[in-house]
């Protein structure tokens, strides 16, 4: 272990003084500022609205304002860049930043849990990257060095991770067998995804939100633009949608066509979203660390120590079932991470649209001897159906039906009856899918509606358990249980009370007797 420290020290000694990052970071700060403006656009809208008339009369003023804004952006960007400094001292990283409110961070390498490299598109020609450091604790302590040469960042990353594994071993001397510096160097690629895979992923999984999020402020304009475009072609949408004077088949045809018309761009955007997020996808493994790299515009890198894995989710929507594809998710503790990044998506490792054998290989890799697909799942009680269909859906439907009949709007019954039948089908599928099983090491949960998800986690990762029983359930010796992991809570309703409590007892026993850490 001493050797590894010696091998890495040169880089550390290179930078004893406070250093400025490369001027390329100006681009990064500009982008951040523009993003800030964009996300606060709503706040500026009134000013724009009221200023608009004034501007029309006085164009020079508008020019002045634009020049002013540009100057402001330049100045802020430059100051941000000027005040951003970092220093590497022995096993510590220090970062000073901020123009008006100063920020100083001092992070010992050993406290760093996760190192991420993010490469926005404008960094790529110059070979720069943005280094992000996550600590186990709160989101506040998270730090990033905005612009580093890729080689240097990689080197620094290795150094930090090596440091981390050393201290880790010092604390737990018993499991130091595997991680030699060689293991740190060797990266094994576990999976890559082709464009075809990503297109399939885009079709089966709606990634439309990536676009909707950005487009949200313009919805109204887009809608009115679409309507006016159609009327330019002589199609009056409002007239089309007036149903009363048209035969049923025509309305149906409209509905189907309209659905396709709306769906088509959605699917297209969804595919684009998948490609943007997962372009050049690789999942690789270095020692006990799994690394996901992907991205078309901004290259993301997410890494996770195996010990930080909380749960594996094997996800198949109904379309995935038809196409025989699977999305596999490695869940980390998310309650801390969701706070500081809007795309919480980026913090879990997801393997998009893989085949069953690839999925099985990956799951076996993280959870040896698991029986996710072979174990017999126990279904939840049929009383789940009784409760939801007879005691919730039926009264609700009857009430609405009676209301419509009394008020004489019987044609609306045609609307709600299919809806109720669909809801009943959903409830049935929910029951049909929901199952559980466990063996010595893992708990398995199966759930879904038309698609099906398999969840698998180790007993000792559990944070808290809940045993719930209504008066109705108690009479039939049923219960609902809930198992809280750092990645979220998992519910299991309507199972046999003795089975439920036995499962929780087993979980508590394993958590308490193993003494293993959940991180």
């Amino acid at each position: 272990m001493d050797k590894s420290v010696a091998a890495f020290t040169p880089v550390v000694e290179n930078s004893k003084d406070w250093q400025r990052i490369s001027p390329i970071a100006l681009l990064f700060f500009t982008e951040r500022l523009i993003k800030f403006f964009a996300s606060n656009l709503v706040a500026f809208l009134p000013a724009l609205y009221f200023g608009y008339d004034g501007l029309k009369e006085n164009p020079q003023l508008g020019l002045a304002i634009i020049v002013g804004i540009l100057l402001f952006i330049c100045l802020t960007t430059f100051l941000n860049y000027y005040f951003f400094q970092y220093r590497l001292t022995q096993d510590h990283i220090e970062i000073r930043s901020g123009v008006l409110s100063k920020k100083y961070i001092n992070l010992p390498f050993s406290k760093i849990q996760n190192v991420k490299l993010e490469q926005p598109i404008y960094y790529r020609p110059f070979n720069y990257t943005c280094l992000q450091l996550d600590t186990a604790g709160s989101a506040k302590q998270e730090a990033q060095i905005v612009a580093l040469k890729v080689d240097f960042a990689e080197q620094l990353k290795k150094e930090i991770l090596a440091q981390h594994s050393i201290t880790h071993h010092a604390e737990n001397p018993d499991d130091s067998a595997e991680l030699t510096p060689d293991a740190v160097e060797n990266e094994i690629i576990l999976n890559t995804r082709s464009i075809t895979d990503l297109v399939i992923h885009g079709i089966t999984n709606n990634r439309i939100w990536i676009f909707l999020g950005g487009l949200a402020p313009f919805f109204d304009n887009i809608a009115s633009y679409i309507v006016s475009t159609f009327s330019d072609f002589g199609i009056n949408i409002e007239q089309l949608l007036t149903f009363s004077d048209k035969p049923m088949w025509q309305i149906t045809l409209y509905a189907v066509t309209l659905t396709f018309l709306i769906l088509l761009p959605f699917i297209f955007f969804s595919i684009a979203g998948a490609v943007i997020t997962f372009y050049h996808y690789t999942l690789s493994k270095v020692g006990d660390r799994y690394i996901r790299r992907s991205g078309l515009l901004t290259k993301y890198e997410v890494s996770m120590r195996l010990s930080r894995l909380q749960m594996v989710i094997r996800q198949q929507d109904w379309l995935d079932l038809l196409l025989k594809r699977i999305n596999l998710k490695f869940e980390q503790a998310n309650n801390v991470l969701t706070q500081h990044q809007a795309g919480a998506q980026n913090n879990r490792i997801i393997v998009p649209s893989i085949f069953a054998h690839q999925c099985a290989a990956l799951v076996d890799d993280v959870y040896p001897n698991n029986q996710m697909m072979t174990i017999a799942y126990q279904r939840i009680s049929k009383r789940f159906l009784l409760r939801n269909l007879v005691f919730i859906l039926l009264p609700l439907y009857s009430l609405v039906a009676v209301f419509f009949t009394v008020t004489g709007k019987t044609q609306l019954l045609w609307g709600i009856t299919p809806l109720a039948i669909f809801a009943a089908l959903l409830i049935f599928m929910r029951w049909y899918r929901w199952g559980y099983a466990s063996d010595d090491n893992y708990i398995y949960i199966r759930r879904g509606f038309f698609g099906v998800d398999y969840l698998c986690f180790e007993h000792y990762k559990v944070q808290q358990v809940k045993f719930k029983q209504s008066w109705f359930q108690q009479r039939h010796q049923l219960c609902s249980i809930s198992v809280v992991l750092a990645a979220g809570a998992i519910n299991l309703p309507f199972i046999k009370a003795d089975k439920g409590s036995a499962m929780l007892d087993e979980v508590l026993y394993q958590v308490e007797s193993s003494g293993k850490s959940w991180m």
Binding site: Q464, V465, K466, S470, Q474, S501, Y509, G515
Partner: protein, 205 residues
């Protein structure tokens, strides 16, 4: 006050009159469940629950009644005063408002009075459980090993009647923080100390 676990068990028993279930008073820190078969695992079904303080129930009842009466009286005063007379319509509306408030408050008071009787906690050597709920009974069990930190919270009323709330935080997130209300201050403090002294909390926290 730093007690060893064995000292604590004695201390806790002295203060509250309860025994810590599963605690081996002879051996102290050794985990006592090592070689059990599945049938004889320590079970949640056999938890020996302790009721929370009766003072909590009473003070809660008084607060609920007082709050309801206060709101209704406030409305009544506003309705009857002559400084800014209300129009007839609004005054009528106030009658309804008072009725609704009275009924809601009454229902809430009644519910709380019965629900508070169903609040229990159980402390074992390795975990802390809290049971609550009138129609939907819920038992939350929190292993000591997974506790991030504990807090004692005491509002003005708690301080007046000598009670405390114990809040237990885990890495499961804010949604799953649980709180045991109505503990006598001495037992709340000793439970907290028991959790802090749990050697594994110190190691992982």
């Amino acid at each position: 006050m730093f007690l060893s676990k064995a000292d604590f068990a004695v201390h806790y028993t002295k203060i509250t009159g309860n025994k810590i279930k599963g605690f081996n008073h002879m051996q102290g820190t050794a985990f006592t469940n090592t070689s059990l078969t599945a049938e004889s695992l320590p079970s949640l079904v056999e938890l020996e629950f302790q009721p929370i303080s009766a003072i909590y129930r009473q003070s809660n009842l008084i607060i609920n009644v007082a709050f309801t009466l206060f709101l209704v009286t406030l409305l009544f005063v506003i309705q009857q005063q002559n400084i800014w007379p209300l129009s007839n319509d609004v005054a009528d509306l106030f009658n309804w408002l008072m009725l609704v408030l009275f009924m809601l408050g009454g229902f809430n008071t009644l519910y709380a009075a019965f629900a508070d009787k169903q609040k229990f906690y159980a402390l074992r050597q390795q975990d802390l459980s809290y049971r609550s709920g009138l129609l939907f009974r819920k038992t939350v069990s929190q292993p000591m090993l997974r506790i991030q930190h504990v807090e004692l919270k005491r509002g003005p009323i708690d301080r007046k009647v000598g009670l405390a709330k114990l809040q237990v935080f885990s890495a499961g997130g804010a949604m799953h923080t649980f709180e045991i209300p109505g503990l006598p201050l001495a037992s709340a403090e000793s439970i907290r100390q028991f959790i802090l002294d749990h050697k594994d909390v110190n190691r992982h926290g």
